[in-house]
């Protein structure tokens, strides 16, 4: 149960966070371990300088299909094979290095940073048209930030641990019930690649 500190949130969010006492059965989200070292503080310093857009939750599209406009996510119907940086990453060497490390595991197909303002929220929704699986990597997660999935509990982002999340089959909602900005990034990968399969589903054969 999460009691939000403000009544600024729509009632659907307030009720969802207050009354949905579900816990995860591991099918909709789980922590994952990336096979390389990185410093979230260094990434955060660069992430704070990215050129975000002016959406309610600011976004910065960093990696995706070559020579296309932003598809919004890694679409289920995508047949793309070539992926490149969508902004000049020269001023952001730590982010560039992180992306290089990801691609060394296997190709990643889409990556965005998201900055949520204090008391911000995302209404319950589902990303049906997107590749179901996405890894979220929090760079800041102030007390009061919650990522909740309908019937599947809250996602454990303590210690800024990355999580693999199924956002296309399960309704989810996010709040930042704090006085600080919250920055996270997420990426899709070619989950059929052996490197990513090993990270996402290590027990599968």
């Amino acid at each position: 149960m999460t009691i939000l500190n403000t009544d600024l949130y729509p009632k659907l969010i307030r009720d969802f966070f207050l009354f949905d006492h579900s816990v995860s059965d591991g099918t909709a989200h789980k922590p994952v371990t990336l096979p390389f070292a990185y410093d979230p503080t260094e990434l955060l310093q660069e992430a704070e300088q990215l050129p975000y857009d002016d959406r309610p939750v600011n976004r910065c599209y960093v990696w995706g299909p070559t020579a296309q406009s932003d598809p919004g996510c890694d679409l289920l119907t995508s047949t793309d094979t070539d992926y490149t940086a969508q902004i000049d990453l020269t001023p952001y060497p730590k982010i560039q290095s992180f992306i290089d490390s990801l691609n060394a595991v296997g190709p990643i197909t889409y990556l965005t940073f998201k900055r949520m303002k204090p008391r911000g929220y995302i209404m319950p929704h589902i990303d049906s048209e997107c590749n179901p699986h996405k890894i979220y990597v929090p760079l800041s997660w102030p007390t009061g930030s919650e990522f909740k999935m309908f019937g599947q509990g809250n996602i454990d982002f303590t210690d800024l641990k990355p999580n693999l999340i199924n956002t296309s089959d399960v309704i989810h909602s996010v709040v930042n019930d704090s006085d600080e900005h919250r920055i996270i990034f997420s990426f899709y990968a070619d989950w059929s690649h052996p490197g990513w399969k090993q990270i996402a589903w290590p027990d599968s054969k």
Binding site: L12, D15, F16, F19, E129, V170
Partner: protein
């Protein structure tokens, strides 16, 4: 929800507010679970329900020549669910010359998220794309 304390205990009964706005309306009658609540003619109406059993299907009928623009149940805007009413010829929609019926359950937040999750599943979206609108 005002049918009980907001505690972790399961809610068995609820009294909720119902608010709707009509784009066009002549005289109309509102029925809840088949019982007349009010007869009215103004485009916006808000009332509290009698005690409703949770997790049971309830019906809201707006009887008359109406076009429903918004439906807010228990303070929750049901968004495009307004277009998923049942009209008198059995089709789905928000406009009819005789009656528009909505089904819902309490707790509203849980029913609405379940409906929304189902309505937005990728399989249902594929069905919609190939077959047009499919009734639930």
């Amino acid at each position: 929800m005002v049918g009980g304390k907001e505690t972790a205990a399961p809610q068995q009964m609820s009294i909720i507010s119902v608010q709707f706005t009509l784009k066009t309306a002549t005289d109309y009658t509102v029925l809840l679970d088949g019982e007349t609540i009010v007869e009215h003619s103004q485009p916006t109406l808000e009332f509290n329900t009698p005690i409703l059993k949770d997790h049971r299907m309830h019906t809201l009928d707006i009887r008359g020549s109406v076009q429903v623009e918004s439906l807010v149940l228990d303070g929750i805007d049901t968004e495009y669910y307004t277009h998923h009413g049942f009209v008198s010829d059995g089709a789905r929609g928000n406009s009819d010359n005789n009656n528009v019926r909505y089904y819902f359950q309490t707790p509203v937040w849980k029913w609405f998220l379940e409906w929304k999750q189902h309505d937005n599943s990728k399989y249902r979206l594929i069905s919609k794309a190939h077959s047009g609108f499919l009734p639930l």
